[in-house]
């Protein structure tokens, strides 16, 4: 009898099945890439590099492009007003045509934020290696893929070779015990985790989220958690695939079908970490102790439960952040008044996010001082929400209802904060100037952003019980 193979983590399995070549002595691995997602901001210089060297895209069939970062979210029938944005959009369209890469163009119903459409189309699957020139590629790890953000030179490398030289990260298990209280979402969970471990807490590590509270999340919640792994400094975030994953994928346009689907299931069921496999680090979190979270500073670890105050210690540890945010230690989170509310981004612009926000605002009105907008993550999400009448719920409450794109998550299009404006945002980064120079961003969940839009300041979402439709 051969000795039993040692137990392996999901990362071990993903890594070994994608190794093309391993340099000796702890050197890097040449890893095969199964799916390469491309968008307009981080790809033009990569395609230019291919042209200059006379190279082709090795696997256009494993490469998919979309327009998202720059695109306007209103008046889509008009030409893009900003000539430089228009140039970048034109460049991607031309590059996709010249190199044979499929593109979800602005007219396509499938167009949307790159990390939303990959899963939505069933391109994102368990067991894959996935890269994109965007740090929130960690989102796709929710399916049990190894998914990482890369730079533009690496984008060119993947286009040319379908591989990447990578150092294998260490592994970090974040085990979430218990279950989340009512009204507390995946967004609150991940913000709480980042608050606990810090913005560099997972640096050099691939995080694997485990435990009953993770298993209980739907795919959309899992994506929200993995999305923000990068905000904890993690190289990747992963969740083992299970029946929830398979049910989400079945029947999606690019998911395997028939016999191939059965075969894929067998393959995917073998992916999760074996019992007894060792992680380099483990952190345990109690889901039951999580409350709705709101950030008060200029990085996602500057976070507090909505019922709390900005910590007194922030005067010393985060003086610059408080000065930028124009806030004082000891201020109650609930006393922070808002000018803007943004519901959108690859973190929280999926259908369940829009439903959660709509359930709060249904039959109510946005506070008169607040300008609020909803930007669905993809054209398909927008259409699905409209079929359910969510657009009307938002419009009647006083929200703007926009077309799909990154929008005010980073404000590369005209959707930006003015200097000094304060915004409750469902996105992932509250860095200085992220949503517009001088703008002040508070991160929170869609339901909390919706409640804040109604109240004009932060408030626990339970202040607005669901009204009958």
């Amino acid at each position: 009898m051969t000795p039993a193979a040692p137990p392996r983590t999901m990362l071990d399995k993903l890594w070994s099945r994608h190794t093309v070549h391993q340099e000796p002595d702890g050197g890097p691995t040449l890893l095969y890439i199964d799916l390469h997602l491309v968008h307009e901001v981080t790809s033009p210089q990569a395609f230019e590099g291919l042209r200059l060297t006379g190279r082709r895209v090795r696997r256009p069939d494993l490469t998919w492009a979309t327009l998202d970062h720059n695109v306007p979210t209103s008046d889509r029938h008009l030409p893009i007003a900003d000539p430089i944005s228009a140039q970048q959009v034109e460049a991607l369209i031309a590059n996709c045509r010249d190199f044979g890469v499929p593109l979800y163009d602005l007219g396509a119903r499938e167009q949307g934020i790159v990390h939303i459409i990959g899963p939505e189309q069933g391109l994102t699957q368990p067991g894959l290696t996935i890269v994109c020139g965007d740090s929130h590629t960690s989102t796709h790890g929710a399916f049990g893929a190894y998914a990482i953000g890369i730079g533009t030179t690496e984008v060119e490398h993947v286009l040319a070779t379908q591989t990447l030289w990578l150092d294998r990260p260490r592994t970090m298990e974040i085990r979430v015990q218990g279950s989340l209280p009512p009204g507390v979402t995946a967004k609150d969970l991940i913000l709480g985790i980042i608050g606990r471990i810090g913005t560099a807490g997972a640096r050099g590590h691939a995080i694997e989220y485990t435990g009953p509270a993770i298993a209980a999340l739907d795919m959309e919640g899992r994506m929200t958690v993995c999305n923000m792994s990068i905000e904890a400094g993690g190289r990747a975030g992963m969740i083992a695939p299970d029946d929830t994953t398979f049910a989400y994928l079945e029947g999606r346009p690019h998911a395997p079908r028939g016999a191939a689907w059965e075969q894929a299931l067998d393959d995917w069921r073998a992916l999760p970490t074996d019992p007894g496999a060792a992680y380099d680090r483990t952190v345990t979190i109690d889901a039951a102790a999580t409350a709705p979270q709101v950030t008060w500073g200029t990085n996602p670890a500057h976070v507090a439960p909505v019922g709390d105050r900005i910590p007194e210690t922030a005067a010393e540890t985060a003086a610059r952040a408080l000065a930028y945010m124009d806030l004082r230690p000891g201020t109650a989170i609930a006393d922070i008044a808002l000018d803007r509310v943004f519901i959108g981004s690859c973190t929280n612009a999926r259908l369940s996010d829009l439903r959660a926000a709509a359930a709060v605002v249904r039959g109510r009105r946005v506070h008169p001082r607040v300008r609020a907008m909803v930007v669905p993550g993809s054209g398909l999400i927008k259409a699905a929400a409209e079929r359910e009448g969510l657009d009307e719920v938002f419009r009647q409450a006083g929200f703007e209802w926009r077309d799909a794109g990154c929008s005010m998550c980073l404000g590369m299009n005209p959707d930006i904060l003015q200097p000094g404006e304060r915004c409750a945002s469902t996105s992932n980064r509250n860095f200085e100037g992220r949503q517009g120079s001088g703008g002040r961003t508070h991160l929170c969940s869609p339901a909390m952003a919706a409640a804040a839009a109604l109240a004009g300041h932060f408030v626990h979402v339970r202040a607005y019980p669901r009204t009958p439709n």
């Binding site: 890097p28 095969y32 199964d34 981080t42 210089q45 740090s135 730079g151 560099a200 990085n299 980073l410």
Partner: protein, 195 residues
């Protein structure tokens, strides 16, 4: 890619932790479709303040950036190292870097040096004390030295060091493995997953 062997230059101290790539190059400047021309927008929002370190005449022409922990966190934008290099920086010295930024630097010939917190503190002291403070970053010897006896050793992953010393780009190195890539594809063609 430009090779990096050894570089001596003026040090600019940037005394903040967690400097994110949105600060290094804000999004409104990411719309160029070239790799060059980002230098004038480096640290754009901070640079509007007259007292920002980059505006002080004593740091004009600095080519070594001294920074704090977790430098380059946030967005994966390679525009960050492009902007730093376009502005004239050849090396960064900090206690730690975010992973993606760290890798992006090597792709462009910008050397990110990791020293201990204590060594970085000492360099901040020296840079404050002396106008025109310069250090030599030597990738051959893996040392940072100054003219007054400061010396710190650093480590770099050997493959990154070799590539930077030779100015070799990764695609060339990878194409030496074209046979292995083709063999991998042939062996995995039957795999169900893959788009």
């Amino acid at each position: 890619m430009e090779a990096f062997v050894s570089h001596t230059g003026l040090v600019m101290p940037l005394d903040r932790a967690n400097v994110d790539t949105d600060q290094i190059i804000p999004k409104q400047f990411l719309k160029r479709i070239e790799r060059t021309g980002f230098g004038p927008f480096l640290f754009h929002d901070w640079a509007r303040r007259p007292d920002f370190v980059m505006n002080q005449p004593r740091y004009a022409g600095a080519s070594v950036l001294l920074a704090r922990a977790n430098f380059g966190c946030g967005s994966s934008r390679e525009h960050a190292p492009w902007a730093l290099m376009d502005h004239g920086f050849r090396a960064v010295i900090a206690p730690s870097y975010a992973d993606i930024f760290y890798g992006n630097c090597f792709q462009n010939g910008l050397l990110p040096v990791r020293l201990s917190e204590a060594e970085v503190d000492e360099l901040f002291r020296r840079a404050a004390a002396r106008e025109g403070y310069r250090v030599t970053v030597d990738l051959g010897a893996c040392t940072v030295t100054d003219a007054d006896g400061f010396r710190a050793d650093f480590t770099v992953e050997p493959h990154r060091r070799e590539a930077l010393l030779d100015g070799l780009d990764d695609i060339g190195r990878t194409l030496a493995h074209a046979g292995a890539i083709a063999a991998y594809e042939a062996a995995h063609a039957a795999r169900p997953a893959g788009g």
